[in-house]
Amino acid sequence: MSSPLENVSHACFGLSYLVAFACEVARLRWPSRPLRLTGLGWGAAGLLAHSAFLIVRHPTPASPEGSLLGVAWVLAVFSLYGSVHHAKQAWAVFVLPVVLGLVGLSFAETPVAAPPWLPGERGWGSLHGLLLLLAAVGVSVGFLASVMYLVQAGRLKAKRSPLGGLAMLSLERLEAMNRRAVNVAFPLLSGGLLLGVVLLRHGEDLAGNLFTVKVLGTLGLWAVFGVLLYLRYAANVSGRRLALGTIVAFALFLLVLASTHPFAVGAGGRPL
């Protein structure tokens, strides 16, 4: 007998997140407690359905669908936590569109099977996936902090009333959030990438696997992060420029996520 959880689809949590986002946007115009609680409720319901989907369907993180949904799940937790913790800030207004974007992208991807690891490689493969997933979360958080930073800096540049429009975190807090996200993501990305290269060496077609969009994009992402760290600590670059750099890194990251992993089986990866 099939479990009802097997009927949970992208639409279930995608629409829940969409309703939560609509509530958050409405709250900007009509701030009210019931609207906030409704938004939180839909966000939590979406997260529950999302978790059920990941547990039941178990999409492999090596597939674009699996990695996009994995990062979206972490960001949905981040959104819910932020909405509860920063009740007065327009937190979910920034995070939920990214979650929705990732869920939408994952929906467009064809599911692929987990890679057939050689004996002794499964553990390393999992560690490689985990490191990159955590780095991906760091990139996403950095991106969100950067977007918020640019919005807040724009408001300050225009000298808008501190109480008008969106309630936002201070520039200092957003800059620190971005800095921490990049600082954490870079070593994780480096570790994950290094492990991936080692695992690639054991593959049949090293050159073919190396020159895939996924691998080259990840290398590019790593390089962009290196530049960002240099600019932050060595070149005294303004917060706005660093925020723009992080947004570029996020765009590259999306490209990497949406491309097929060289180890994945089927749908553009290895042949079935």
Binding site: P31, Q152, G154, L156, A158, L169, S170, L171
Partner: protein
């Protein structure tokens, strides 16, 4: 209801009179006790820099406490040592529902000099607690004041009338908070020693910055201001170095032209600084070239920017006055109806029971005489007719009582009903 509000405020009394009539803590307690003892009523005295008002409640329903504007003028003249004839024109009074309305408007800060100011509700609460402590409150004030404070809270939360700051120095701090989150590692630099700068510094000091630097063309003045705020005086010719160190700059010099031009800032300060700097240029003419502002590395706000936000906040509050008045009106009606129901309930209950008893007696006499001639249906019809007659008979007096109650004028009618139907 038996309620009267008598007093003066910033609209009826100039500040020199409000100063004369205001009460300190000791005088407040003495005046409240004295009025309660002399006039035998519940008393609340609200004495702030903008108003001196007595709220008095009598024990006889429907009457008005004797402490009217005339007696209040005499009392204030006596305790304050001023001529009663001078005080009397400054006073206004409201009774019954109008007094409730006035109180609710005061607590909701709709009657304040700056609409939406947040202090008045606390001051009313404090005055109420003082009266309770002195034992001069009774059923009416004990019901009315918590209701008034709830109304003020409703106005605050539903309209946002108290949102934002309306002093230039508070707005300046609001801007600083948009940039910085923690202040324990921040350096504040005060350039000049203007009054507005000192006010802004007072607000900034509440954020507990790591250190305060003060610089002034006059070294003695810099040392003086630094001593007042626990800061360090910096020589005027080290201004550029101080600017490099500062995270927040408050500038209020009396210089005739900008002391820091965009070129000077770009050459001497910007290359040596890391992180964002907030400059609050409150001087007129301005001390910093506005071109320095970029909203990222440097956030420069001058007096016009701060005043504009202040005006926006005030305009926002003015928009909320009509919805706030509607809430007050609704709550006044609710309170007077609740109070009326509480006061009328027992009398109406007694009246209904008395007439019920009479009806039962009459039908008990009538029905046996018609025994044998009536079916059960006939008996029910007759009893129903008597009940209908009773309801129609009582509807008029009860409705009139409720109507008078809504205006807070039901006392005489209530007494008349008691006498007419012998309900004592």
């Amino acid at each position: 209801m038996n309620l009267r509000m008598v007093g003066c405020n910033y609209r009826t009394a100039p500040v020199e009179w409000r100063e004369k009539l205001a009460f300190d803590a000791a005088g407040h307690a003495k005046a409240v006790t004295e009025v309660a003892a002399r006039f035998g009523c519940e008393v609340l005295l609200l004495s702030t820099c903008n108003r001196v008002e007595f709220l008095v409640a009598g024990s006889v329903p429907g009457g008005t406490p004797p402490f009217d504007a005339g007696l209040a003028a005499e009392f204030l003249a006596e305790v304050r040592g001023v001529p009663a004839a001078s005080v009397a024109p400054l006073l206004y009074e409201h009774t019954q529902a109008a007094a409730v309305r006035h109180l609710f408007r005061v607590v909701a800060s709709l009657d304040s000099l700056i609409v939406g100011e947040g202090q008045i509700a606390g001051q009313v609460k404090h005055a109420f607690e003082a009266s309770q402590g002195l034992g001069v409150t009774g059923p009416l004030l004990n019901a009315l004041l918590p209701f008034a404070l709830r109304t003020a809270k409703r106005v605050r939360t539903e309209t946002g009338i108290t949102r934002g700051h309306v002093s230039v120095s508070s707005v300046a701090v609001d801007y600083v908070r948009q940039v910085f989150d923690t202040f324990a590692d921040k350096t504040v630099l005060i350039v000049g020693a203007g009054k507005m700068g000192r006010l802004t510094l007072k607000h900034l000091q509440e954020l507990k910055p790591r250190r305060i630097l003060v610089t002034n063309r006059s070294p003695a003045r810099a040392v003086e201001v630094a001593a007042l705020c626990g800061g360090v005086a910096v020589p005027w010719d080290e201004l550029d170095d101080a600017l490099v160190k500062a995270d927040i700059v408050v500038s209020t010099t009396g210089a005739g032209e900008p002391i820091v031009t965009a070129r000077r800032y770009a050459a001497k300060v910007a290359p040596r600084r890391t992180g964002t700097q907030v400059i609050l240029d409150i001087a007129v003419p301005r001390d910093f070239d506005p071109a320095i502002h970029d909203g990222d590395r440097v956030c420069l706000f001058n007096i016009d920017d701060l005043t504009r936000v202040r005006e926006q906040t005030l305009a926002g509050r003015r928009k909320q006055v009509a919805p706030a008045e509607a809430i007050v009106e609704h709550e006044v009606k609710k309170f007077t109806e609740d109070w009326t129901r509480r006061r009328h309930g027992p009398v109406i209950g007694k009246l209904t029971a008395e007439v019920d008893k009479l009806r039962a007696e009459v039908t008990a006499q009538l029905l046996p005489r018609l025994n044998g001639k009536l079916t059960d249906e006939d008996r029910k019809t007759i009893e129903g007719a008597f009940r209908l007659f009773q309801n129609k008979l009582l509807h008029g007096p009860i409705a009139a009582l409720h109507e008078a109650g809504r205006e807070g004028q039901s006392g005489t009618l209530l007494e008349s009903l008691k006498k007419l139907f012998r309900l004592e």
